[in-house]
Symmetry: C2
Subunit: 374 residues, 2 copies
């Protein structure tokens, strides 16, 4: 038997849910945001810092880790957890999304996908089975199945073919698991077509997965379209399994999708934005390069208790960002991750307290006020 994950629903408020996802490496309170650590490090920060931000689970990426450092290295060094010194749960994406991003270098067939490494152009092939095997080598606690993710808009025929393959591959993935493997999540496709999403839900949600993800969103469609698809689909997914919206999103997206029944999120936004000098705060976004911070002795966010906000002024952060000092990118990364995790933690408390709607309204009012003042 694989090391299943189990989900306990603790409360709900409208479609919003609060729960606990138990994995073999620890419990994850939901809703949760998962910082992205593509290459065996959450960029610019240490595992201890990620933990201090409140992170309970981080993401790895099967495609990237397979290429660099490579499975041989991960095998020799005892798996990703030991390699990167992170003892908590790790969820790994399969690589399906990377093939979407690099679509001209990846060629899908019914059995798998041929692709060229973005490092050196060398040819490789992934199948649903090989992707489960490599996530096993990585030591993933939550493995994602290989899926075919399409750019939107796509034709009905393309969407149906991708769904058919993804369903077939999901079944093959389950069959390929072995005793000792981590949990496995399936990925629902169907683009922005609500009827197709419902069909794919029906195809996949009866299968023996530990959780279900919505893939193929936040790939170019308008936020309102995404909210509509999530709102129509998530609440109809199994209530006793976690629901994971892949690759989403802004703080606003996260609040809106928690409202529509999503439990798990990941996104490069807080970490990537930090490396561009952007911070997320309770009053909205801040560009630390901005001249207005030049002489400011204020913290980035007075209500935040992260390392950056408790020890440094906006003037210092601006200086570091302008001087391209690593430490500045680190401090902003720490702040942004903390902000995202505070956000989902506050949402969770509000759901349990039954005042999620008011909390959500207050969030948006504060962001709006920040925009007016900024």
């Amino acid at each position: 038997m694989r090391d299943r994950a189990s989900f306990t629903l603790l409360g709900s408020d409208g479609d919003a849910r609060a729960g606990v996802l138990s994995t073999r490496r620890g419990d994850i309170p939901t809703p949760i945001f998962m910082p992205v650590g593509t290459l065996g490090t959450v960029k610019t920060v240490s595992p201890a810092e990620v933990r201090a931000c409140g992170a309970q689970v981080i993401l790895g990426n099967n495609y990237h880790l397979y290429l660099k450092p490579g499975l041989e290295v991960l095998e020799a060094t005892g798996g990703l957890h030991r390699f990167m010194n992170w003892s908590g749960p790790i969820l790994t994406d399969s690589g399906g999304f990377q093939f979407f991003s690099m679509r001209h270098k990846a060629k899908f067939d019914d059995d798998g996908v041929n692709f060229r490494s973005h490092h050196d152009g060398d040819p490789h092939r992934f199948t649903p089975e090989s992707v489960i095997a490599s996530q096993r080598t990585i030591g993933s606690d939550i493995m994602m199945v290989l899926d075919e993710c399409l750019a939107l808009p796509a034709t009905q025929k393309q969407l149906e073919q991708a769904m058919r393959r993804t369903t077939d591959w999901a079944k093959r993935s389950l069959a390929a698991t072995q005793p000792g493997d981590g949990a496995v999540f399936a990925i629902l496709q169907g683009g922005s077509d609500i009827a197709l999403r419902a069909r794919h839900r029906d195809e996949l949600c009866g299968l023996d997965f530990d959780g279900f993800a919505l893939g193929g969103l936040s790939v170019g469609e308008a936020p309102a379209v995404m909210y509509e698809v999530v709102g129509a689909t998530a609440p109809t997914m199994p209530a006793d399994k976690p629901r994971y919206l892949m690759g989403v999103g802004t703080p606003q997206d996260i609040v809106e999708c928690i409202a529509r029944g999503i439990d798990m999120f990941d996104c490069v936004m807080p970490t990537r934005s930090a490396r561009h000098g952007q911070a997320f705060t309770r009053s909205g976004r801040e560009n630390l390069r901005n001249q207005t911070h030049r002489l400011s002795t204020e913290p980035l966010d007075p209500d935040c208790s992260c390392e950056a906000c408790t020890n440094y002024s906006r003037a210092y952060l601006r200086h570091l960002v302008r001087a391209k000092e690593h430490f500045g990118f680190r401090l902003l990364t720490i702040h942004n991750i903390r902000y995202y995790l505070d956000l989902v933690s506050e949402a969770r408390s509000a759901i349990i307290a039954g005042d999620f709607a008011e909390w959500r309204k207050a969030c948006f009012e504060r962001w709006d006020r920040g925009r007016e003042n900024g």
Copy 2:
């Protein structure tokens, strides 16, 4: 009165000395290595990490800080210590060395130096008095006088003119200090001419400075030449004042110059090398990009107790360096600073124990063995 630094000699072994330099922000055991934090951050590491490496004092740079973030920012935010969240002593270099590095953009006269910012080409002027004033704004605990540093080889006439100016400027610097200022160190020039060095020592060492530095070394001359100049000069400098060899050097240089009576060192080598994937260990240098580390579960240096060596394998460090991940550069920086500080700390213990010569011999034997095995 300025906040003087005082030096207590605790022991010596040959010309090597062990002591304590007391400053207004704390005591510094000597010999000491001072990590370089040019722009208000020791590149890639936090103040807490620098402290955890054993650092007792860090360097700032008056030239760089004057241009970026600028004195107005440092004044508004309460000085460099508060700005960067470092409560220990800070020594600031005057900028003399930067004018040497950018010699075609700096023009010396008897009163001061005109230069253009390396950021935007804007014209600026430093005088001995302005440099004391800006180090006051920075909040420096040990201020260095403005000096004229020459590239070697230089003509006797050039060397004598630079010495004359440096002596004159040293006197003007002392006269420009105010109550509440930090300690002030003078800088001895004279190139690799031992007689000129002796003359400059005689000119400066009778003046009321808190310490004396050797400048204008490690600027292109062979190590043997530097060792000769240091060996002939340092032991004849005032025994009751700290002796600081600026911008030096490799671990070998540091051991050799401690042997010749130097108490204080700074160098970008451990921090800059780290950002190029180079580590210093008890067995010599390691290039972490090297294929030999690919599958290695060994720590970088088994005798080191830094964050990198206690938590991560060579394979992981190699992966991070190859992937250009900030966290890798940070871990190597932490290791290298720790190594330099362990080195001077071991030297100090050996001096106090009276077995410095054996310790020095053992260091070189280990480095030589590492080279044979590497």
